[in-house]
């Protein structure tokens, strides 16, 4: 399950909803801009 702690995202393969990936991708994009 995705848990947005102050510093990381955790995704469980084939368990977490694929929508979590868009949250992770947003976090990476924001972090890298």
């Amino acid at each position: 399950s995705g848990n947005l702690t102050p510093n990381s995202f955790t995704y469980r393969i084939n368990n977490s909803p694929s929508k979590e990936f868009s949250d992770i991708n947003r976090m990476i994009r924001q972090g890298c801009v």
Binding site: N14, S18, F21, I24, I28, R29, C32
Partner: protein, 152 residues
């Protein structure tokens, strides 16, 4: 007036839940259409080629994909038993699941963006249970945003 207000709050809450369930149902429908299309495509290709593709040229589902610029330097550490990996990228990356890949390959007939030709719609309708067909017809017109009542 107080009761009206309470019912209005309950109405908003229910609408929100329905929209969420609707998008989950749409995702399930897309997943099913994409998967079935992929299987059909591969089966036809193998029959035409009269042999399966070389094993090292394919990746079986389920998988996830990490994509990054070609310029990115990726540093990778792997445990001996391959149970743990650590990747360091010097540039941003994205992570997608296999269904997203199938959509980008066109396996969902364009339904994910509501751009589906009449021909594709015919194909897509045959890939879902009859009870979900009205949904596919609606999705072909564009993402269903409001509360959609099926004919059933």
């Amino acid at each position: 007036a107080q009761e009206c207000q309470n019912l209005e709050v309950e109405r908003q809450r229910r609408l929100e839940r329905i929209k969420q369930k609707q998008s989950q149902l749409q995702e399930l429908i897309l997943q099913q259409i994409a998967f079935k299309n992929l299987v059909q495509r591969n089966r036809q290709a193998e029959q035409q080629a009269n042999r399966p593709p070389p094993p090292n040229s394919i990746i079986h589902l389920p998988f996830i994909i990490v994509n990054t610029s070609k310029k990115t330097v990726i540093d990778c550490s792997i445990s001996n038993d391959k149970f743990e990996y650590l990747f360091n990228f010097d540039n941003m990356f994205e992570i997608h699941d296999d269904i997203e890949v199938l959509k980008r390959m066109g396996m969902a007939c364009g339904l994910e963006v509501g751009k589906c030709s009449a021909e594709d719609l015919k194909v897509a309708r045959n890939l879902v249970p009859k009870a979900l067909e009205p949904y596919v017809i609606e999705m072909a017109k564009g993402p269903i945003s409001n509360v959609y009542i099926t004919g059933g």
